[in-house]
Symmetry: C2
Subunit: 237 residues, 2 copies
């Protein structure tokens, strides 16, 4: 987190709450990042234990969302923040929500891993899952870093990467549909792979949302529903 | 909206803002409800003009989300509400977000309608789309009514209906996958139908979220991640 911002808050009455919220978001973010990695490994290496771990951790992520939201609401009610501080709390509640959604999608990938394990033999599409997984995990890592540094340029780069995830998804989908047409026996298993890919694509959307929340936090600009070009022009990049 | 709540606000300094927010949410909700209906009609009757209308309206819905969020942030900053009033503003921002997501899914259904129109001949699954569409539209209608009446019982009923939507989705998916296996030539078109069904299923989730926001608004209870049974027990039903 930007030093000046923290220093300003050291003498400020709600310093402790703000610092707690920020560090809790990072903690939650790190857990979710691990969930992405574990869910991808679980499906690609058909690792049942790892898939079960992801599903179990999801409860913790849910509880963190609820608890963090409670803290934010309390800060709003008791401290009545304005300007940057208000944006910090509002962005926090939004980032938490997107993190929880990413965890939720990781859980879906883990469930697909369990389902595929039951049905034997790899149906292909694992390279695509691994590739998209690495992309999406990297996006979240950068987004969390951009949040701690209040770095709009890095946030914008995260938003941009989502285009890449979308392209990968479309290309993977075409490959798998072609495979399904060639080998109709594989349809059911291919549908599970497609579900996992779709979850990864959705994680990309949530990462982009987090990037947008950071831009709102730092610049006070609502860039939702803006194209990357519009974002850049709004930010004077 | 509960008469007492409005009456209390008539003499209150931020009466106008609260009333604006509520009526704007209802307006946005009605537009989105129409989007659900139009997107389903567009796909089932392959009505290109209607599909294009849904896609066009989505811009308006996006803008409404941004504007309403701005109003809510302003109220938070200037009025510093507490207790029920704070929950009203927080629930408002969450409901708006879910409404926008429903509009987004309706737009996806409309895009599938355009894609299917291009490729000719119905691939089946239209009954399921019509059925799920009616369910999801009814849920949103009830949710908006529950919001205006601050009716927790009706909100709970909306949350319950989501189970039905999930069941319908799973059954439709099984039917369509079987159809794909029997007739691999239909796979590409069937995938579009599946996408539309998945969008409707997701609309159901967002309706459930709206119901949860209403319960939070009225009771101050966070029932996210709770099963229906847990919700009922928390609400003393």
């Amino acid at each position: 987190m930007d030093k000046k911002y923290l220093e300003r808050h050291i003498s400020n009455s709600f310093d402790t709450e703000i610092k707690t919220i920020i560090s809790q978001i990072l903690e939650m973010g790190n857990i979710v990042e691990q969930q992405i990695q574990d869910s991808v490994t679980a499906i690609v290496s058909t690792n049942k234990a790892l898939a079960e771990k992801v599903i179990e951790v999801e409860n913790d992520v849910d509880m963190r969302e609820v608890r963090l939201d409670e803290i934010c609401t309390e800060v709003l009610a008791c401290r009545q923040p304005a300007a940057f501080d208000l944006r910090m709390i509002l962005s926090a509640t939004r980032i938490i929500r997107d993190l929880e959604h990413i965890g939720d999608e990781a859980q879906k990938v883990a469930k697909m891993a369990l389902r595929l394990k039951k049905k034997g033999a790899a149906p292909g599409g694992y390279n695509e899952i691994e590739h998209m997984g690495a992309l999406v995990q990297g996006m979240l890592h950068s987004a969390l870093h951009a949040f701690t540094q209040l770095d709009v340029t890095q946030a914008l780069a995260v938003a941009k990467s989502d285009k890449k995830v979308d392209r990968e998804f479309k290309s993977a989908m075409r490959t798998i549909v072609t495979h399904m047409i060639d080998d109709p026996k594989s349809i059911k298993r291919a549908m599970n792979i497609l579900s996992a890919l779709r979850s990864l694509e959705r994680m990309g959307n949530h990462n982009r949302n987090i990037a947008e929340h950071i831009i709102y936090l730092v610049k006070g600009l609502d860039v939702r529903h803006s194209s990357i070009k519009e974002m850049e022009s709004k930010l004077g990049n």
